[in-house]
Amino acid sequence: MDAYLRPRTLDHALALLAATPGCQLLAGGTDVFPARTGAEVWLHRDARPLLDLSGIASLHGINETPAGWRIGALANWAQLCATPLPPAFDGLKQAARQVGGAQVQNRGTIIGNLCNASPAADGAPPLLTLDAQMELTGPAGPRVLPLAAFLQGNRRTALAPGEIASALLIPAPPPGARAGFLKLGARSHLVISIAMVAGVVTLEGGMVRHVRLAVGACSATAQRLPLAEAALLNAPPDPARLRPEHLAALAPIDDVRASAAYRRHAALVLLQRLVERLA
């Protein structure tokens, strides 16, 4: 068995995946290679064959569809930033500019960021606020899952054996929606979040008519905050309406970057600032 496979079509990739159990999917390499480096420090070698998706033309691109937008599995952060998109994507673009450094943005894919399923995945909160869905393609064809269902936990997703995450499907955002993203870390570049928040808000006549808020790095997966959204809906965009109890679903941890209590507090402050900014 080859250690490295680079098919040119999705069908071929699926066939190779079926024939090569335990192989690891590779796109931009910005998570796969660092993980291997980390393991090798202690002679723990990841010998899984690599199935490189980068040669599959159909997985490239960010395209408008009748239903909204389709982000291909190979679209990277820099390409996202360079694509003209409605203002509702501004939060996702702001996140894109804060993923690693420019080198990672030029290589790392948006879908790979989700498949890696870090609790601090920068793409997850803004995509949750865009009601993104994952298209997972297997031997029997594609299936579609809400992103919240795809992200199952720390480093766990709903991707089944034999499946490839082929696209993100984003419904057309409400007209006039505005969006933002705030990331908090201990340095200015190349930083893993202590906490981050994303929001998409539509105002009509000074009232919030559509709102999606999500928080990352404060629980095993990024989460939407329905209670916080409900507190803002059909009311003026007043940050003071957001209360600590609206964040009760978060389950932050103590780690080297911050304490759990701080994360919970910071998430609320960031959400309030985001609402203030989007008002």
């Binding site: 910005t30 723990h44 200015s188 570049h189 701080y262 402050v269």
Partner: protein, 873 residues
């Protein structure tokens, strides 16, 4: 076979398709200008352009470069913009050690292709993925923004800001660092390290492995090394007991593929974990080493003054600091080769002669049979003073008869290398009603880790420095170095003084407030001046420029204070802190010898063994030697660092090379000049010229029948400290004061640095451009110490969990050079390497207190700790 367009040329690369592009470029194409700092996309040293876009070559499988254009630093000079960028880096001092420089240049090239006239924010965004540990980034930003050289460089007299004499190879990829030049047929060595902080282990039969497993039993000589001649407590390969996570227990040696095929579970090693000792539990616990029954490596003390004068105000507090990693972007690397009964060891180091002594003892061979040939050193900061790969590759090459190389991975480097000592400090200070200091009492435990390393030096330096550069009539200080199951704490820019300065300066702020004095004026009032006597009983006759430093800062202080925001959720603060720093070893000899030769063919050669690890000593020492000789620096040919070709110039540490080796270089220049003048029968003011191989004295050609030589040595005059810390520990001191202006987000505890103003008394700036580079780089490391750096064994063993400042974390820095001439120094000069870092962290903490009223008790001041302090205030 992968086809790519490499620096414009169609190229076929035979490596496996999944090979990282960085490895393919280096190992298959021979383009070692692309550096590997982490293999994880965290440092950006391997940045190349892929179809014009910057990428980390370590994250790109070779197959994905198929049919695409790859541009590396070696291809840069071919374009006008690339050449201009290289020239700008050179002229602005944007490359120090040079290891990050290729990555910086490539990132800047991507930017400039799209944005020929970028602003600073664009430069930061484009270069934000490349880490630099030397420069503090400001010179890099300036180089990219101006993209032009400054005025033509001056000739290189003392006081001239000339670009580094060794600078050009750092810009075109031709510089050879420790991992760049091993013979193609070298065997590979891979250390096996303990994953446990404390464990007994036994090694069984290893004959099934595809590579040889070297263990303690294979060491021909002494299985131990260490900084002090009488403390060789760290084994090359531990014998049955691992004392920290990262302790080396064995090493695989063989063909590269065979070594790399071995997995952890293949190793015949069984481990029995033991409870690890920490600084809190170690004193009095079962000894880690029989030699130190209470786990106290050493205790340094100072007693000064019999009784304290009456005090009006007292302040006290406790502070703790964590492990700090050097994070040089070049991990340890080198190789060894046996030549008959001698061994040659190549690689990165700060201390070739100490390496020689260790290798000789480990092999059990005479000193003369060891030759150390230092490569370029991609940053050190104290972390490459202790040996790492040297004894291992030497033993392996000695036993196998083959060249043997080793390259630490970033994770190995982090786990195994020395760290800055974590300190736990309690201090009390008092002053009278007028604000004059009356007493200072200081006790601290420094976690010195599993082995002695530089622990005694830290315990020695701290009690002498911990009251700072101030007049204090009564001082009691004590610092203990405690052995634990943590990584060995060693030398890191400041030897424990930066930690102590935090306590000292925070107490001064409290006393100034209690007295109602301005914090800067409180320091002026108490500052040491020429003619004062220090707490070790040393009379300071010359070169005490602290008051001048503070006076130079005063207008900035008032301006920054007036500008700061005092309402709202972003709250401004301005902090001030001072430092002093003894140049050279503490009360111990540390001689340097330099040599100049002039051959009959007119070839003038400077034999300089002082290793330039990026700080610029090769340039500065040449300026000194040339000035003393009376010929231009451009006339010098360089022979550098090799122990077979240069005399012992000591180690590159303790901020000593400009001062100590500089005096030796000055003496060497003067000695050769004396020889020349004697032969020409010319007076002391004679004018020398050297052109076309002919030396002229007052325009008269001087024919030589033999090589003339001038040798100079210098050992700074000191008197060892007695049991009360009395003596003359250093011949001279650097002094400095820094201001930090910042804003604190009161709701999040985040810190935004706005400006640092640094005034440093350097005696004489031999090369102001390089001195400023040292100041800016030291400040960046001080920012890291203050705000983000904390090494946790087993947890932050990579450069995305262990955070060092990025290009966006270092604010505008204004450097003011004060030149209070030191008569002992070369042309009046003192050292600058460590002084630059010491005052930064206390100045930042002082500014946080100014902004919020909160005193931080623990660094790094991560946002959650700052917020906790604000809310507890």
């Amino acid at each position: 076979m992968t086809s790519l367009l490499l620096n414009g040329a169609a190229t076929q690369v035979a490596a496996a398709p999944e090979t990282r592009l960085s490895a393919a470029l280096r190992d298959e194409c021979g383009l070692t200008g692309t550096k590997v700092g982490c293999d994880a996309g965290d440092c950006g040293a391997c940045t190349v352009l892929l179809d014009g876009a910057q990428v980390c070559a370590c994250l790109v499988p070779l197959a994905q470069a198929e049919g695409r254009a790859v541009t590396t630093v070696e291809g840069l000079a071919a374009t006008p913009q690339g050449a201009a960028l290289q020239a700008a880096f050179h002229s602005h001092g944007a490359a120090q050690c040079g290891i990050c420089t290729p990555g910086m240049l490539m990132a800047a090239t991507e930017l400039l292709a799209a944005t020929p006239n970028p602003d600073e924010a664009q430069v930061q965004a484009a270069l934000g993925g490349v880490l630099c540990r030397c420069t503090g980034y400001r010179a890099i930003i300036k180089a990219v923004l101006t993209l032009s050289t400054a005025a033509p460089p001056p000739p290189g007299a003392v006081g001239d800001s000339i670009p580094r004499l060794d600078g050009l190879p750092k810009l075109d990829g031709s510089e050879r660092f420790g991992a760049d030049d091993a013979p193609a047929d070298a065997l590979w060595l891979r250390p096996i390290r303990s994953p446990h902080a404390h464990a007994r282990f036994s090694i069984g039969d290893a004959s099934h492995l595809p590579a040889r497993l070297l263990t303690a039993a294979d060491i021909p000589g002494r299985n131990g090394f260490g900084i002090y001649p009488d403390i060789k407590d760290q084994a090359v390969f531990a014998e049955g007991l691992a004392r920290y996570r990262g302790d080396c227990v064995a090493a695989l040696v063989g063909e590269r593929a065979a070594v790399e095929a071995v997995r952890w579970e293949d190793l015949p090693i069984t481990w029995q974990e033991l409870p690890p000792l920490t600084a809190a539990t170690a004193p009095g616990a079962a000894p880690l080493h029989p030699r130190w029954p209470d786990n106290i490596l050493t205790t340094g003390r100072l007693r000064s003054g019999e009784t304290a004068p009456p005090a009006a105000h007292t302040a006290q507090g406790q502070w703790t600091t964590g492990f700090v990693e050097h994070a040089y972007i070049e991990p340890e690397a080198g190789w060894a080769e046996r030549h008959g009964d001698t061994i040659h060891v190549h690689g990165c180091t700060q201390a070739p002669y100490m390496d020689r002594d260790e290798v000789a003892a480990v092999l059990g061979i005479p000193l003369d049979n060891v030759r150390i040939i230092p490569s370029a050193c991609g940053g050190g900061f104290g972390g490459k003073l202790d040996v790492s790969f040297q004894p291992m590759v030497a033993v392996a090459a000695w036993l196998t008869g083959r060249p043997v190389r080793a390259v630490w991975s970033r994770g190995e480097s982090l786990a195994s290398s020395t760290k800055r000592h974590p300190a736990s400090i309690h201090a009390t200070a008092a002053c009278d009603a007028a604000g004059r200091l009356t007493s200072f009492e200081f006790t601290a435990d420094y976690d010195t880790g599993a082995y002695a390393s530089w622990g005694p030096t830290v315990a020695g330096r701290v009690p002498v420095h911990c009251m700072g550069p101030y007049r204090v009539p009564y001082v009691r200080s004590q610092a203990r170095a405690v052995l634990t199951n943590n990584p060995p704490s060693g030398a890191f820019r400041g030897f424990g003084v930066p930690q102590a300065a935090i306590a000292q300066e925070m107490l001064w702020d409290q006393l100034a407030d209690a007295t109602g004095l301005d914090r800067l004026e409180f320091r002026v009032l108490n500052a040491l001046r020429e003619g004062d006597t220090t707490n070790t009983g040393q009379h300071l006759r010359h070169s005490v420029g602290l008051v001048e430093c503070l006076e130079a800062l005063r207008p900035h202080w008032h301006t920054l204070r007036a500008q700061r925001r005092t309402t709202g959720r972003l709250r401004g603060g301005v902090g001030v802190a001072c430092m002093w720093y003894g140049i050279g070893n503490t009360g111990m000899p540390n001689p340097s010898t330099m040599r100049l030769t002039l051959a009959p063919d007119g070839r003038l050669t400077f034999h300089n063994g002082a290793v330039d690890i990026g700080q610029g000593s090769t340039t500065v020492l040449a300026q000194i030697a040339a000035e003393a000789l009376g010929l231009p620096v451009s006339a010098l040919h360089m022979v550098l660092y090799d122990t077979a070709l240069t005399a012992d110039a000591g180690k590159t540490s303790a901020s000593r090379q400009t001062f100590v080796s500089g005096r030796a270089a000055q003496a060497a220049g003067a000695a050769l000049r004396g020889e020349i003048l004697r032969r020409a029968n010319a007076g002391p003011d004679a004018r020398l010229t050297l052109s076309d191989g002919t030396l002229r004295v007052n325009n008269e050609p001087l024919r030589l029948d033999t090589t003339l030589e001038g040798t100079g040595s210098y050992d700074p005059p000191t008197v060892p400290l007695d049991a009360d810390g009395q003596g003359i520990p250093y011949a001279t001191y650097g002094f400095a004061a820094q201001l930090a202006a910042l804003e604190v987000d009161l709701d999040l505890g985040t810190i935004h640095l706005q400006k640092i103003v640094a005034a440093h008394d350097v005696g004489r700036a031999i090369n102001p451009l390089l001195v400023r580079g040292q100041v800016e780089g030291g400040i960046a490391q001080g920012i890291g110490l203050a705000l983000m750096e904390e090494y946790l064994p087993g947890r932050t063993e990579n450069l995305h969990d262990y955070l060092i400042p990025t290009i966006g974390d270092v604010p505008d820095i204004e450097t003011i050079l004060i030149e209070a001439r030191e008569p002992l120094g070369p042309f009046g000069a003192k050292g600058i390497g460590e002084p630059a870092l010491v005052p930064t962290a206390p100045a930042i903490l002082s500014a946080i207190r100014d902004a919020t009223g909160a005193t931080l008790r623990r660094v790094p001041a991560l946002p959650h700790r700052v917020l906790e302090a604000i809310r507890g205030h």
